[in-house]
Subunit: 160 residues, 4 copies
């Protein structure tokens, strides 16, 4: 969806753009539940910090499957890779072994050649915040060379 | 070292402060070399993103041992914990299995109750950048309650 | 089940023992499905070998919750820990990122003070074998000192 | 060593074989030191069990570099892969964050198409045992098809 990529200044298109933007803002979100594994704890008794990035990945994977209707596996099979270029994490509260987490992920195209996922992780039972952050991804081909997001992917994002 | 914590506006103290600041800026840095493990790679052929946070931790551990002369183990034994509250990572270039990495870490007190580590990871052979970022840590007691950094720790930072 | 724990020499009890053994053999099994995470792959394109031990743990956790009706969290809260003393793994076939795995775990008491989990991991779609193995666990108290399995735990195993 | 590789039935060769075997038994061993990372601990306060397999890998990597004079990277570049087919681990004692470990690895060809590494991990300071075990590896080509160990590899093993 070009509206997510450029400003979409065309006047005639604005209502349609508005509708699409609304759809994107409302739909490209996915919620995943998963439990903290024992292997993810550390001696402080909560989860070790780097696990959050692995949970972010689980959130991305399910969002793509459920909302884009194209799994990340299929994307890679089409020769499109999404390596991480930036990540930010804020650790808000502990989560312990076997706690059920609720991972809320949203995705949007950012600028011309980036994909951004925002993630919030809460304890499912109490809703108390655990981690929030984002990851920014480049688009590359099989050789790791940066590419523009393929048109079909942009369309997929806009109509999802 | 208060100079790292507040502004240190006192006139008489300024030369001494300057010397300490210089020392801090020049010395509270440590360089660690480590190799990328096979277990740290992913199917994209480089390292999986969350490993960077684990390497940051290795950098912190050695900086504390080598520069503060107090290992993180000893810190925890004294009842002081440094849980992560924020992390930021920029992925600049690939690193592959068995590549020797050079991890450069610096530390400083931030505000009244935070410790900040800045980290740069480069490939040792070529110097090409791999990841850079920072982690910000709170000080807590054994129960996880936030505390001010103990005075002896501040002194340690200032005279290291 | 008591047959696994004590001698069960009483003649009158034998039919009852038989029934319990049958129940144990048929019920102390649990099946868990989970997907291979990207973070669990390595540059060979399948999963990195040590992840299997983490999946074994997920199998144990769910078996205890679903079959023993006592989560491992509750067990630790009662002061009983189950550290691993032995593990064996046979890697039978690859599994790739996002593959859905079926983890079949069974549990039994072994000797006087050991708990043994046998695990088989298959690809869910094709049934093709991925890993099989077992883990053997000691019982310890909070301080890590070996203990006999508490009587209530043995009962739990026998009546599950 | 050749006895493991070819039939070595020639009588005249026996002294030479003996010498090579002695060399192999004495030299295809390597010792690596590494520290337990915080990320490798779990809430029980020691290291999480699957980390041992990652440490085994570190031992293999260094043994190959130091004793075979061919790193595993070079081996893969030549199109030879060594996927794990079996692993066994005995957990003998705890090791804590920042403990310096001593990993002693030996390697031998097993049968016609397997490579076996035996590993012992001890705490460096006290020598107390932590884990011991072995891993058995197949030889495969780039596509993952099982192959016999290349002749140059067998020679490398015999003369190392």
């Amino acid at each position: 969806m070009t509206v997510l990529l450029c400003d979409g200044t065309g006047a005639a298109a604005s209502l349609w753009l508005h509708r699409i933007r609304w759809r994107a803002m409302n739909k490209l979100k996915d919620v995943l539940q998963l439990r903290v594994r024992y292997s993810e704890t550390d001696q402080m008794g909560t989860f070790y910090n780097s696990r959050a990035l692995e949970w972010f990945e689980c959130g991305r994977t399910e969002l793509m499957r459920n909302r884009l209707r194209m799994s990340y596996v299929e994307l890679e099979e089409k020769g499109v890779f999404l390596p991480l270029v930036e990540a930010h994490l804020e650790f808000q509260g502990g989560a312990r072994y076997d706690d059920l987490l609720r991972i809320t992920s949203t995705v949007e195209l950012q600028g011309r050649a980036r994909l951004r996922f925002d993630v919030e992780i809460n304890r499912n039972e109490t809703g108390s915040p655990v981690v929030r952050g984002y990851t920014i991804h480049a688009f590359t081909d099989t050789q790791g060379k940066p590419i523009r997001p393929p048109e079909w992917f942009v369309t997929l994002m806009g109509t999802a």
